[in-house]
Amino acid sequence: MSIILTRIDNRLIHGQILEAWVPHLQVDCLVVANNEIAAQTLQRTLMAAAVPKSIRVVIASLPVVAELFVRHELDAARVLLLLANPADALAAHRGGIPFAELNLGNLHYAAGKERYSCTVALDQNELDDLRQLEAVGVRITSRCLPSDADCDWKKLLDGGGQA
């Protein structure tokens, strides 16, 4: 089974994940691949503590998570994989994490970014990273909550996404 959804969400594990996506997808394993959180013991502990005991949690650096997938250690799980930004998504894919689809969740606006929807803003480097993923066959869509429509990210770029 393994990866049910791969999502870019700059908040990683938070309310929308625990209360909306986990029940919607019926996943039993949350995987956060993030070098910064992996290095912060307190943040990592608090983030893991918020997850119900019935859900397995892995919070580790990108190389460590990639190794888990390469070794097929998560094959029996239903995984929701969380990445903080497009650069990490590209690194994860190149590192051997086999996702074919990528959900754009929360990629919030900051200075230097262009806003494409309420929850998706990208700078030029991030656009390039996503285009590289698309070029190797990853299907990229935008959907913040399960109740939102799944929108091809190219429609966002063309200004055809939700406002």
């Binding site: 625990l18 608090l46 983030m47 918020a50 606006y109 929850t119």
Partner: protein, 136 residues
């Protein structure tokens, strides 16, 4: 005077402070911060820092009350945790917040925070549990 910042999803914090004022009148040293769907983490971090400054956290300490452990308000707040001076308390409810205003003058921040955790828990009651056996 110890300050409080109520940091929640949407306008829940503002509404809780409105409810407090309805019950006990004007209160000082209190602010609310709301996670909005379009707000980025860095923007929210700055709003929380400004709210802590507004309630005098640097001089007197403060408690950040958030709505849900594991939610973005709690996740963002933990970066501001300074045990003894700035505490983060999740699962904010009206009894907890009212008790804060009535007791903040009597305790240092860590004792106050622990008391409020217990008081907030005691504020959750299933009314039928109070009925004599056999009547529920």
């Amino acid at each position: 005077m110890i300050g409080v910042v109520v940091f929640t999803h949407a306008q829940m914090g503002t509404a809780l402070l409105d409810a407090v004022r309805m019950i006990i009148g004007p209160v000082a040293g209190a602010a609310a911060v709301a996670v909005r769907r379009e707000a980025g983490v860095e923007e929210l971090r700055q709003e929380l820092a400004a709210a802590l400054a507004e309630v005098g956290a640097a001089a007197h300490g403060a408690i950040i009350m958030t709505d849900m452990f594991g939610g973005s308000p709690a996740n963002i707040s933990t970066a501001f945790l300074e045990p003894g001076r700035i505490e983060v308390l999740t699962g904010v409810n009206l009894p907890m917040l009212l008790k804060f205003f009535s007791s903040r003058g009597n305790f240092p921040v860590p004792v106050l925070a622990a008391n409020l955790r217990d008081h907030g828990r005691q504020g959750v009651v299933l009314a039928s549990d109070l009925l004599p056996h056999g009547q529920a």
